[in-house]
Symmetry: C2
Subunit: 132 residues, 2 copies
DNA sequence: TTTCATTTTTGTAATGATTACAATAATAAG
DNA sequence: CTTATTATTGTAATCATTACAAAAATGAAA
């Protein structure tokens, strides 16, 4: 499903900017920050403002089209993959990597309404360890 | 083990303020913010500054005596229970509750060095649901 | 098309938690 | 007691994010 269809599916009018932001997030696994999204799109869309990137990512996240990743306290990152998976922050290279998650038992929360689940790990990634 | 002993065990000089902050965190399950720690201790220690609360919580966390909980993007919360457990943020009452965690499989991260693991859920807690 | 209302986008200013830093106070060692 | 080191404090700076109002774009109705 493409970006415009995803937006329409959540009753969000598919403006050019919204499509551009969601499409960009759909085509990267880098979990970019606002700053990175802005710098990636600005060359193609010179009128783009950083405020719009803030507004749009916030809207997309409220509508469940993207996820806000707050693994790094400094800046929020965004991910168009809203399926259940964990995030690993490498302290060496700064990258945020996905990892698959299975078998979390949250029976302790019986009777709770659970809206979001986030799993954040940090450490040093395989590739950085190899470079030593 | 009391606060002074825990500090000494990590080669942190057990000053009165450090003991007071760590002791406070050890005796609450509320995951307080800097602001809350400051307001709780200030009546007993009138000379306490908020900067010291920042410095001390940062030091304690670096030494592994406390954990920084970043489940709420607005403010960092602190927890003296550094054992593996999940945190649940209730959107209704704002409380952060502990829950026990078992069976997370992170085999996908073989070959990584894992330093921290955080599991953050959000939703509505049982007690708020009952109040409806 | 023209008009009008609504929505989207933009730029600037405000917010507020956290950090930097330098000065002061307390502590430990000699 | 003196001196060096560490701890604490207060103020100023930082910087990501939000608030807000103006401008631009869009859509519906005539």
């Amino acid at each position: 499903m493409n970006a415009a269809e995803r937006l329409a599916g959540k009753e969000v009018r598919p403006s050019m900017l919204r499509i551009a932001v969601l499409e960009y997030l759909m085509h990267t696994k880098a979990h970019p920050t606002i700053e990175e999204i802005y710098h990636a799109l600005h060359p193609k869309i010179p009128t783009l403002s950083k405020t719009s990137v803030y507004n749009i990512t916030k809207l997309l996240t409220e509508k469940g089209l993207t996820k806000a990743i707050t693994i790094d306290e400094k800046q929020i990152r965004y991910d168009a993959d809203v399926s259940m998976h964990g995030h690993f922050l490498c302290e060496r290279c700064g990258r945020v990597l996905d990892f698959s998650l299975t078998g979390i038992s949250d029976g302790a929360l019986d009777g709770f309404h659970i809206h979001t689940k986030e799993v954040y790990y940090s450490g040093v990634c395989k590739s950085c360890l190899k470079d030593e």
